[in-house]
């Protein structure tokens, strides 16, 4: 369909990709276990003294343990994301709100998603996606802070409680903290639905390797992406931006 060669663009470092899948797995586990902790919907061990039932598979204790472990893995995983940000130009953390390109991208993508325009300029990562990912980080931060506020108050004189305990007062009581933790989890679930859909859609509509990019780190474009400045200095003279730069002949 497209004329001319398709070029390979290296965007995501392995750190970002590993973090992405660590995050995906832990968010899934956290959501599932969290639903049970919030509302224990299946009947636990029967006919055993609770002293012994605690150690059974799928007891509240076990499910909470999985929840807390997954939470720590997610928070620790974010170190990878920050490291990727430090070493690789393509792993940007924040959208560039201050550039015209960002706002053009927002308008362009909104029009495209509302079927008002059939095409949009090629982007390494479009403005709406970038903004959504920032939103996810904000939501995850809220989850971590509220989660730790509840978690550490088991030991009210411990270091964690000193750090995160006052969050409970900030929200006007720990009950509200539970609710915020709960609502934000649902917002994340809705994000996941929309995110997975839009990734599949992009792959289907644009054939730029959107889905595989989170495994390989590269995307393929027939034309130079509008936000090429994110991975290379944009100048017409300089077209070679990395050793991973390869060209593929157009498919007949």
């Amino acid at each position: 369909m497209s004329e001319g060669p398709v070029k390979e663009y290296y965007i995501y470092s392995p750190w970002l990709r590993i973090f992405h899948w660590v995050m995906a797995a832990s968010v899934g586990v956290l959501f599932a276990t969290g639903l049970y902790i919030g509302n224990p919907f299946f009947i636990g061990t029967q006919g055993v003294e609770p002293t012994f039932a605690v150690n059974k598979l799928m007891s509240m204790e076990t499910i909470r343990y999985i929840h807390f472990a997954a939470a720590y893995i997610l928070v620790a995983g974010f170190i990878l994301r920050v490291y990727g940000f430090a070493v690789n130009r393509g792993d940007r953390l924040l959208p560039k709100f201050w550039t015209a390109l960002y706002w053009q991208g927002v308008v362009e993508m909104l029009k495209h998603y509302l079927f008002l325009s059939a095409d949009h300029r090629p982007y390494l990562r479009n403005s709406l996606a970038r903004s959504a990912y920032l939103g996810v980080y904000v939501l995850l931060f809220l989850e971590a802070v509220t989660g730790f506020a509840m978690y550490f108050m088991v030991d009210p004189n411990g270091f964690g409680a000193k750090l995160f305990g006052p969050v409970n007062g900030l929200f006007g009581g720990e009950y509200t903290v539970h609710l915020v933790h709960h609502y934000v989890a649902w917002l994340l679930a809705i994000f996941v639905i929309v995110h997975v859909y839009l990734v599949i859609r992009a792959d289907f509509m644009e054939r730029e390797g959107e889905a595989s990019s989170m495994f390989s780190g590269v995307k393929f474009f027939a034309h130079k992406p509008a936000d090429i400045g994110d991975i290379a200095d944009d100048s017409d003279k300089q077209t070679d931006y990395g050793t991973r730069h390869r060209q593929y002949p157009a498919q007949g």
């Binding site: 369909m1 639903l35 919030g38 509302n39 224990p40 299946f42 009947i43 636990g44 061990t45 029967q46 055993v48 609770p50 002293t51 039932a53 605690v54 059974k56 799928m58 007891s59 509240m60 204790e61 499910i63 909470r64 998603y113 079927f115 059939a118 509840m150 108050m153 088991v154 009210p156 004189n157 305990g165 006052p166 409970n168 007062g169 006007g172 009581g173 720990e174 009950y175 509200t176 903290v177 539970h178 609710l179 709960h182 609502y183 989890a185 649902w186 679930a189 809705i190 639905i193 929309v194 859909y197 839009l198 599949i200 859609r201 289907f204 509509m205």
Partner: protein
């Protein structure tokens, strides 16, 4: 008013032995939540410190805290009032009343300016210039401000004084607020609860009486030794929670067997209080032990976090009963339907576009 002795002097006057005095000090040390190593300090303070006069004001409330306090078991409320503090003014416990009694209050405030402990029970209504609570012909706000001016420390006794109380529930027609919302510049300690555990009140008063300062407070201004731990973390039913054994209804076998009340709305996981370890009426019982879920009566806004027998609150969606999970499920379902519809439209658009391109390249098929 002549009751300005130290505890030891008082014991001697009544012919109580030194041995009994030391025993009492040991009990007081435990009661205050102090480590046994603090015993010598408690003894020294009990020997020297004169017992502080206490003025106890009542505001916008139900006097249920009084009801709890007079049932204090260890020490007995009568001992507290007569032997451990000098309760000089309390309009519900005193035999006298009327103008003479109000005069007594005036004299007290003058004589012990800067020395007395002010215990306040009840919220402070601010709407309509405070006319919703009047004492002695004045608004409670005015009475409180006058008494607070000369107080050495203020104790907010009960959830009304500490957070505004039940009458502060939405929409709070009387604009009831806590004492610390209208008084500042004084050491203030919150002893919330609806009512608070009487022994906690006694211990806070004793702590100030003996050491001349408030006990260590948490981020919300409550004494740490009594409000440090969650009901959930001190609950004797916790093993049932950890094992996933829950009461589903109040009349099921789980309720009979004393399983965890989490699913019938227990607020233990968000409630900070001492009911789990001290219990009530000399350790007789407490709500969860009697099979009722905790309301978190010591927490701010507990009155608005309803319904009490549901884990999650209702979200005001007209015509339905919906909690966070239901709303979340509906929203997630709507998102799913939305993306499927959007996907179908996208596919249609793409195929239309492909046809268009075919037409452009090959020309119209005649």
């Amino acid at each position: 008013m002549e009751n300005r002795d130290s505890m030891w002097a008082l014991f001697q006057k009544r012919g109580v032995s030194r041995r009994s005095f030391l025993k009492t000090c040991a009990v007081v040390t435990g009661m205050l939540g102090l480590s046994p190593a603090m015993l010598p300090k408690v003894v020294a303070a009990a020997e020297k410190k004169t017992l502080p006069p206490v003025i106890w004001l009542h505001g916008h409330e139900c006097t249920g805290c009084d009801e709890a306090f007079i049932r204090s078991q260890s020490p007995l409320a009568s001992d507290v009032v007569l032997n451990m503090i000098s309760l000089e003014y309390s309009d519900t416990l005193s035999a006298s009343a009327g103008e003479a009694f109000e005069h007594h209050l005036k004299d007290l405030m003058k004589k012990y300016a800067g020395q007395y402990i002010l215990a306040v029970e009840g919220g402070v209504p601010l709407a309509d210039n405070g006319i919703h609570c009047m004492t002695g012909g004045r608004t409670f706000l005015a009475a409180l401000k006058e008494a607070a001016a000369g107080a050495a420390a203020i104790i907010e006794y009960g959830s009304c004084a500490a957070w505004g109380g039940i009458q502060a529930a939405r929409p709070n027609p009387t604009k009831s607020v806590s004492v610390s919302d209208v008084i500042s510049g004084k050491p203030i300690v919150k002893v919330p609860g609806c009512p608070p555990i009487p022994e906690v009140m006694t211990a806070v008063v004793m702590h100030f009486a003996l050491f001349g300062q408030l006990p260590p407070l948490d981020a919300q201004g409550r004494p740490k030794q009594f409000y440090g731990n969650r009901i959930h973390d001190t609950c004797y039913r916790r093993p049932f929670f950890d094992s996933g054994m829950f009461v589903e209804k109040f009349d099921d076998a789980g309720a009979k067997a004393g399983w965890c009340l989490y699913k019938v709305g227990c607020r233990g996981p968000v409630a900070y209080n001492s009911c789990g370890n001290m219990r009530w009426w000399n350790g007789l019982s407490y709500p969860i032990q009697s099979g009722a879920p905790c309301f978190a009566c010591g927490s701010n806004n507990f009155w608005d976090n309803g319904p009490f027998f549901e884990r999650l609150p209702d979200i005001p969606v007209p015509g339905t009963i919906a909690d966070a999970d239901k709303v979340g499920m509906v929203a997630a379902g709507a998102a799913l339907v939305g993306v499927v519809a959007h996907g179908a439209l996208s596919a249609m658009q793409k195929s239309k576009q492909a046809k268009q391109q075919d037409t452009d390249v090959r020309g119209p098929e005649a």
